[in-house]
């Protein structure tokens, strides 16, 4: 089952990200029809008041309905119908946006079937369970231990504490290829609703009942507890202020109109203006035309669609605030590995120092890498086999071997092998760490290592120094492994775009500064942080934030969690640990770190769409004035008919045309609101010029054309002219 049917080519070929631009699905007319019942339900004032602009329109519609019933004329009824349609169209925009989320939520719900959990009692790590019982998945508590075997569905979110299994996560990621989940490390997190395909794992539940990942996903895509984002709140205040001011302008017009009419008793009464003043129908029409209905109608749809666009890219944002923050990001922290370079650095050379048999170096390199399951580690084993003919060995073959795993602190891995002569230790890792190790074990690192390491680093490669220490002898460096990094194609162009948008990219790497610099130069990032430990990452984020900058980063490991939490936009990889997922404010289901760039674009697009439609909405008012003011007052002051520059057919047709245009433009702009305005990374000045031209100037011109066209049609309605 797939959740979405978006084009995922960019995730499979991260090498060519450029052609993929932020865009959204098109609006299907059927969707409009399907959402109509929802739109009508939203007429309920108890919910509509949350949208002050449309709430005012609804009150106006009720008012004109009463007037139309009391004094029925064709004009009154047509205006009333179109005012109601204005509200319905606004609701429709929101309903359509929500409808798309609902479809996704339904798909997710199907994944959340009733599962029976096999809960273990008295389980201890390494030991076996005391008892097993069957409970419904919904009854699982935080900290419960469950066992899941091949073919069973994982009953809740948790961490694997024992075993390794391949898991089908297509229910949430849409990706059909199974993934490996194992205890310990950064691939221990499993999600409720996914299915174990092989083997058997023991899982510690890390969720509270009803708060599972899938539950949250459903809530998010449905927009159930959608909070208004900071910019949305600010914009709402501005729209409310504009509404109040127009309410005032229209309300205070009445005494002025009464006075003017009384001063010109010879002027004929019209449908718009009698000696009692401007008719209620026309006043409401003027009000509805002036208040920012276009943006008021589309504002929430824009927000919902923005979240939806992220979901289509398989990113779950835990809050709209995070999406907006993405648009504001000043600094992107990108892990080198997997983001800037292809994940696996390949061992390409073993460089032995003088006096060391290359075969010995190859052997030591292979031994130290046997338990190293990273792609780099495996590539060392592969290189030892292909270039030196060393048979591949398995960790189990060696007795009395103690494997030393790689940690971010020691930055070394290796093995201690006990044989009859004593213990032989082999270490492989970052040059500084291994040389320190050599010194700590009585050795004097040969000065040949330095040039070798620097040479590799300068070429953009990664040097790993291999050293050995046998009991009773000083430790010695054997040589250097040359790991080659491959920078993904197209990254440089992307970073150039980022720079044009004013975003600084910082590459984070555990490599030494020389290596980092070479890769940074090749990839075209602005800055890099070399030999980065998790604390350094955190310190860097704090430093940037202290300067008022917003920072975005991706991470997957548990040790990324604090940094993910500290960053303004923290995107956790779905393959990562639950700690990381908990700490970040977005989760990328594709686990593609490059996605961060797209997230930033979507965040920006969201804000641009709001600003553009606000500008459009305000600019529209000019034409409406030219339609309505002469229609209201030309009978009293014939000179005002010169303002009727559109030469509209009659006062009633002019007012009606403005009202119809006002309603129709909402529907016409729904696709734009859902899709977002076209966005190309460029400087602020370029973007402003373009958007001002399209939505500002366009907003002034479009209604002149639209109102005139509508007027040409409706003048034939009997009772209007």
């Amino acid at each position: 089952m797939t959740v979405t049917d978006v084009d995922r080519s960019h995730t499979q070929q991260p090498a060519a990200p450029a052609p993929h631009r932020v865009s959204g699905g098109l609006l299907d007319p059927k969707q409009l029809w399907k959402s109509t019942p929802d739109a009508l339900r939203k007429l309920n004032p108890a919910t509509l008041w949350r949208n002050p602009v449309m709430f005012i329109v609804e009150i106006g519609s009720v008012f004109t309905t009463i007037l139309a019933i009391v004094h029925p004329t064709v004009f009154a009824w047509v205006i009333t119908v179109w005012l109601w349609l204005t509200v319905v169209f606004a609701n429709l925009a929101e309903a359509v946006a929500e409808g798309r989320g609902k479809a996704q939520a339904d798909a997710l719900r199907r994944a959340k079937q009733d599962t029976v959990a096999r809960r273990l009692r008295g389980w201890t790590p390494g030991g076996s369970a005391v008892a097993e019982e069957q409970v419904p998945a919904t009854a699982l508590q935080l900290g419960d231990i469950v066992i899941v075997e091949a073919g069973q569905v994982i009953p809740g979110d948790g961490d694997v504490v024992e075993g390794i299994a391949s898991v089908d996560e297509s229910a949430i990621t849409g990706e059909s290829a199974p993934v490996i989940r194992e205890s310990g490390g950064d691939r221990s997190a499993v999600t409720g609703g996914t299915k174990v395909l092989s083997d058997r794992i023991v899982v510690r539940i890390t969720q509270r009942p009803g708060e599972s990942f899938v539950d949250r996903m459903i809530a998010l895509v449905e927009g159930a507890n959608r909070q208004k984002t900071p910019n949305e709140i600010a914009l709402n205040i501005l729209l409310a202020a504009l509404t109040i001011i127009f309410l005032l302008a229209v309300a205070t017009l009445q005494p002025l109109a009464v006075f003017s009419k009384a001063q010109n008793p010879a002027a004929p009464n019209t449908e718009a203006l009698t000696s009692h003043g401007v008719s209620g129908i026309v006043l409401v029409s003027l009000l509805v035309c002036l208040i920012p209905t276009t943006i008021g109608a589309l504002l929430s749809a824009i927000g919902i669609a923005g979240m939806d666009r992220l979901v289509q890219r398989n990113v779950l944002a835990m809050s709209g605030r995070a999406v907006e923050a993405a648009g504001d990001v000043n600094t992107l922290l990108l892990d080198k590995t997997g983001t800037i370079t292809l994940g696996n650095r390949q061992a390409s050379e073993f460089l032995a120092v003088d006096g060391i048999d290359p075969q010995l170096l190859a052997d030591a390199a292979q031994l130290s890498s046997l338990a190293d399951e990273t792609p780099e580690g495996r590539s060392v084993v592969v290189h030892a086999k292909t270039a030196y003919g060393l048979r591949e060995r398995h960790p189990g073959e060696l007795t009395f071997a103690v494997w030393v795993p790689f940690t971010a602190q020691t930055r070394m891995s290796g093995v201690d092998i006990a044989d009859d002569g004593g213990v032989r230790s082999i270490r492989k890792g970052a040059a500084t760490a291994v040389m320190q190790w050599v010194r700590d074990h009585g050795g004097h690192p040969t000065d040949q290592i330095g040039p070798l390491v620097d040479g590799i680093s300068a070429s953009g490669g990664t040097p790993l120094v291999v050293a050995e220490h046998v009991d009773g002898q000083p430790a010695r460096a054997l040589g250097v492994i040359h790991l080659k990094d491959v920078v993904k194609a197209g990254m440089r162009e992307r970073f150039d775009e980022m720079r044009r948008m004013g975003i600084k990219t910082i590459m984070i790497t555990g490599d030494n500064p020389l290596t980092a610099q070479a890769i940074a130069a090749e990839a075209g990032v602005d800055d890099f942080l070399a030999e980065a430990k998790p604390e350094d990452k955190m310190a860097l984020i704090r430093l940037e934030q202290a300067g008022g900058k917003l920072v975005a980063m991706t991470g997957d490991g548990t040790n990324d969690a604090p940094a993910l939490a500290q960053a303004d936009v923290g995107v956790a990889m779905n393959t990562g640990t639950s700690a990381a997922k908990e700490a970040g404010n977005m989760v990328d289901l594709d686990s593609d770190p490059t996605k961060l760039i797209e997230i930033v674009e979507i965040g920006k697009q969201l804000l641009i769409t709001r600003g553009a439609l606000t500008t459009f909405s305000i600019a529209n008012d000019i034409a409406k004035y030219f339609a309505i003011i002469p229609a209201m007052f030309a009978a009293v002051y014939p000179g005002l008919d010169r303002l009727n520059i559109m030469r509209l057919h009659s006062p009633t047709s002019a007012i009606l045309s403005a009202v119809i245009f006002n309603a129709v433009v909402i529907v016409a702009l729904i696709p734009l609101a859902l899709r977002g305005v076209r966005y190309r990374p460029s400087s602020a000045a370029t973007m402003l010029r373009r958007n001002l031209f399209v939505y500002g100037l366009g907003g002034i011109v479009a209604p002149f054309v639209g109102i005139k066209l509508i007027d040409l049609l409706i003048q034939f309605i009997p009772g209007i002219s």
Binding site: N231, I233, A234, L235, I237, L238, A240, A241, I244, I245, F246, L248, A249, V250, A251, T252, L253, P255, L256, A257, V258, F259, S260, Q263, L286, L290, G327, D328, M501, G547, L550, G603, Q605, L607, I608, G611, A612, T614, T615, I618, A619, D621, I622, Y625, I629, F633, Y637, G639, L640, L643, Y679, S683, A684, A685, M687, L688, R689, N691, L692, Y695
Partner: protein, 553 residues
């Protein structure tokens, strides 16, 4: 030289004069408000009122200080006016009636200087000097203080302190307004303006009649009347009176004085926020609007539509012959673009559309360049709103000078922006709907409506100029307009200070290529557009029934 050429040269020389003053005066005011040293006379002042000049105030305290000072000013001036008959130099004039005293006390404290009375036949010399002229100084200084506090909000970071109101007030009065006024007064005396404490003279006119001419401390009051964008004339005829404004070149000087501080404050702003370009941008937006208005009104007056203008061959009704139609139009534009309200001709007699432009100038919120201080803060609030819309369009949370424009900032800016139109429209509607309001109208039809609209526009924007033809000395108008002036002054000030407080707390976001450049022509253009469009949208219906109805034939 044709009169058109003369009019154009008059405007051009003003532009040059203001451009020359921009930098030195702006820099000087920057040094005044940022200096850490106090003059001895200032220290004495602080000791007298019991203020610690080193203590800075959060926005609430700053606002309370402004309000407290202004309240005391109003009460003092009210008492002064009510008791003037018992004081020296009253020239025998009676005490001012309560509603009139209220109106004038508010009017001068709010920098409006709306005058329901004729100065030479109502106010004695002491009230003019120690009551009204004092407010001419301090009300202008209050405006500049508030503007400076707002600019500090932009310039500072992570603080709740906006400076000390008392220090700002005293310094601006002593170091900026007093010295310039003193020099200007002497120049005006040299030009022929009256300056004495005489009781008036009876002179025999050529026609054989007798006329009583009141002298007085005119030039000294005239200088600060223009410099502080006050506009309250010593005489009813205001700057059209030869004792206030004797010649063409004093006319030039008066226009220059009423524009110079407001046009130089953007430089002070630029200096304070550490980017002169930002100051130039604000000044440019002001200049575009001002020049547009000056040119429009000159053209409209020059074309002289309307019955009377066509009969006499020029729109010269209500215009002093020594100034001429065009220079008067320039004065009219300058006085309504600022919150001055001094007049050297009568706006009521202008062509309908020309008079409409003076109204529109005020409706802009008096931001081009506006009153002393109030023009800058008004324009900065509009810049905040412009940044908000423009900022969204570049895909970032809007930021101005590194400060994020979020919900709180938009709230204060919106409240500011709502206040004046509310007062204008509600006031006008109330006047047109009630017998009290209509009782004062001498003219009927669209022109009568324009007069009422003008009165409330002038009061709410603290301008003070008037369309004649409306009897505003009634209790209703005095009370209502007094209230409108009061709210039109102090509500915006509180909102501006609130905005300043919320800006000062922020940590500025560093600029990048993704940041909206608020000093580029594109932004200046958008700021001008937002100012004009938002105003037009708010007032167009009312204008349609007033000047437009009258002017479009």
């Amino acid at each position: 030289m044709s009169s058109t050429m003369a009019g154009a040269l008059f405007v051009a020389s003003l532009v040059i004069g203001l451009a020359l003053a921009y930098r030195p005066l702006g820099d000087y005011m920057y040094r005044v408000v940022t200096s850490t040293r106090h003059l001895r006379v200032e220290r004495v002042m602080y000791r007298l009122v019991g203020v610690d000049p080193g203590g800075e105030q959060p926005w609430g305290v700053y606002a309370r200080s402004v309000l407290a000072f202004s309240t005391v000013s109003i009460l003092f001036l009210y008492a002064f006016l009510r008791l003037q008959h018992y004081l020296w130099l009253s020239l025998g004039f009676p005490n001012v009636v309560p509603s009139g005293a209220w109106n004038t006390a508010v009017s001068f404290t709010t920098n409006t200087n709306w005058q329901w009375y004729s100065g030479e036949s109502t106010m004695g010399h002491l009230v003019q000097m120690a009551g009204l002229a004092v407010q001419n100084f301090v009300s202008a200084a209050v405006g500049i203080s508030v503007a400076v506090a707002l600019v500090r909000g932009f310039a500072r970071k992570q603080t709740d302190r906006l400076g000390n109101f008392w220090v700002d007030l005293v310094r601006i009065t002593y170091r900026v307004l007093l010295p310039i006024s003193a020099v200007a007064a002497i120049v005006l005396i040299a030009g022929g303006a009256a300056q004495n404490l005489a009781n008036g003279h009876d002179v025999h006119t050529l026609a054989g009649g007798v006329q009583h001419l009141t002298g007085g401390p005119v030039a000294s009051q005239e200088a600060i009347k223009e410099l502080g964008t006050n506009g309250g004339g010593f005489y009813n005829a205001n700057s059209a009176h030869p004792f206030e404004n004797p010649t063409t070149w004093t006319n030039w000087l008066e226009i220059f004085l009423l524009l110079v501080i407001s046009f130089s404050l953007p430089r002070t702003f630029g200096r304070m926020v550490g980017s002169n370009r930002q100051g130039h941008a604000i000044a440019a937006a002001m200049a575009i609007l001002a020049l547009g208005s000056v040119i429009t009104i000159n053209v409209l007056q020059g074309l002289h539509h309307g019955t009377v203008p066509q009969a006499v061959g020029a729109a010269s009704e209500g215009v002093e012959t020594r100034f001429g139609v065009l220079d008067s139009a320039t004065f009219a534009s300058a006085t309504t673009l600022t919150s001055t309200g001094a007049v050297d001709s009568f706006h009521d007699s202008y062509t309908a559309l020309g008079g409409g432009v003076t109204m529109l100038n005020m409706m802009l919120g008096e931001v081009a360049p506006g009153g002393t201080g109030s023009g800058l803060y008004g324009m900065l609030v509009l810049a905040v709103l412009t940044v908000f819309i423009a900022g969204l369009m570049v895909g970032r949370t809007p930021e101005y000078l590194g400060k994020k424009i979020g919900a709180r900032e938009v709230k204060f800016a919106s409240l500011y922006f709502l206040t004046t139109p509310t007062l204008v429209l509600a006031g006008t509607a109330m006047a047109m709907a009630t017998a009290w309001g209509k009782a004062g109208m001498a003219n009927s039809g669209a022109h009568g409506l324009s007069e009422v609209l003008y009165a409330f526009t002038s009061a709410a924007n603290n301008n003070g100029s008037a369309f004649a033809g409306l009897t505003v000395s009634s209790t209703w108008y005095n009370t209502a307009l007094g209230l409108v002036m009061l709210l039109g002054r102090f509500l915006p000030i509180v909102f501006v200070l609130g905005l300043a407080g919320s800006l000062a707390r922020q940590t500025p976001v560093p600029a990048s290529t993704g940041t909206l450049k608020t000093y580029q022509p594109l932004f200046v253009g958008m700021l001008v557009g937002v100012t004009v469009i938002l105003v037009a949208l708010t007032f167009l219906p009312a204008l349609a029934l007033g000047p437009l109805a009258e002017g479009i034939q």
